[in-house]
Amino acid sequence: MHELSICNAIATTAAKHAEGRPVSQVRVQIGHLRQVVPDALQFSWEIVSSTTTTGLADAELVIEEVPAVVECRECGEATTLDMPIMACGACGGFDVKLLSGEELLVVSIDLVDA
């Protein structure tokens, strides 16, 4: 359900920029903290793109996953999280700043040249 909602939002954004022209690829960046399952997103995309009338019917969805990275204010290290626990992977400190992992971005669309 979550992935379906996100696919609808991807389609809306892509269609707005495509302005009716046929699209062959939509590239998105999804952060690991967004709880999106890539396979479920692909599956939802098949439904959403095939039921839309906005030139997305043949568009492939390319998902770039963005790891969750935090920077520690105590030891200064940047570490990648494998759990959504906001702690430094180097020193274990909790005073961390999130550098990436919350992306929900439409990066680009490929238009088929007429």
Partner: protein, 272 residues
């Protein structure tokens, strides 16, 4: 708009495309530094760089909603939880408790039926607006900004101090969709286990306050409250936690005090 020309002669326009896209990359900083810089593929396709949050349309409407709440002097709170955590019972208690001092409106989001809204009848809300999300694509599992915008039209906003938006019961989707709220709250029942903050971090990270509900059941459960609080703190160290039982009324006063602090009308009243 050179980028959007329809080209019959691909090779002649390679540079034009590449330049257009490259400008975008520079403007957008290092976001795409490791990404695709081709800008043009040899297969008769043009890459258009967008770099737009895919919820930006929703967020734009949410910002409009937020402005209207602000202009009307209403504080809007988005109330979320999984199904059965006790949102509606807590809301009824809230209306009974706070409805005497504040003018409260409710937006009831539900996939179908007005059963939840019926349960609030007579509890002290000035106005209730029901949104059934099943009007759309097979029943949306959350409220989005457009649904709230249409629900707002049916409410006398200028006559309200506080608007509680009861979202669809779901621990995942509602967290992604801002609706124009000033604050976000969630109800979490102790019967849901200790580990959910780690499994549903988007929701737990999105909220300002967590009402840990049904604490009257604790003696009957193998539930480790300290573990829940540790998991919650690990995911969202800023969230305030209120222990409550909507059934017995425990903690409802603390929750109402939190709500009242969000509303400008209430804080000026409290000072009087």
């Amino acid at each position: 708009m050179g980028r959007f020309h329809v080209h019959r002669d691909g090779t002649r326009h390679i540079d034009e495309h590449a330049l257009d896209v490259h400008d975008h990359h520079q403007r957008d900083g290092d976001l795409l530094a490791a990404g695709d810089h081709s800008g043009y593929t040899e297969t008769g396709q043009t890459r258009v760089t967008i770099l737009e949050n895919l919820l930006s349309e929703n967020d734009r409407v949410a910002d409009d909603n937020g402005r209207r709440f602000g202009e009307s002097g209403v504080c809007a709170v988005n109330l979320m939880s999984s199904p059965g955590a006790g949102k509606t019972v807590l809301l009824r208690k809230t209306l009974e408790e706070l409805g005497r001092s504040l003018r409260i409106g409710v937006i009831e989001g539900d996939i179908a039926t007005s059963l939840d809204a019926d349960r609030l009848e007579g509890a002290g809300a000035r106005a209730i607006s029901v949104v059934n999300t099943s009007a759309g694509f097979g029943g949306e599992c959350h409220l989005d900004a457009v649904m709230v915008q249409s629900a707002m039209e049916r409410l006398p906003l200028s006559e309200l101090d506080l608007l509680i938006i009861e979202n669809v019961g779901n621990l995942v989707c509602p967290a992604e969709f801002r609706v124009g709220e000033q604050a976000r709250a969630m109800v979490y029942a102790v019967t849901e286990g200790e580990e959910k903050p780690l499994k549903y971090p988007v929701m737990f990270r999105a909220v300002d306050v967590v009402v840990v509900n049904k604490v009257d059941l604790l003696p009957h459960l193998d539930f480790d409250l300290d573990a829940l609080l540790a998991n919650l703190a690990a995911v969202n160290p800023q969230a305030q936690v209120i222990m409550a039982s909507a059934r017995t009324g425990e903690g409802v006063d603390e929750w109402c005090a939190w709500l009242a602090r969000q509303s400008p009308a209430a804080s000026s009243e409290a000072e009087d």
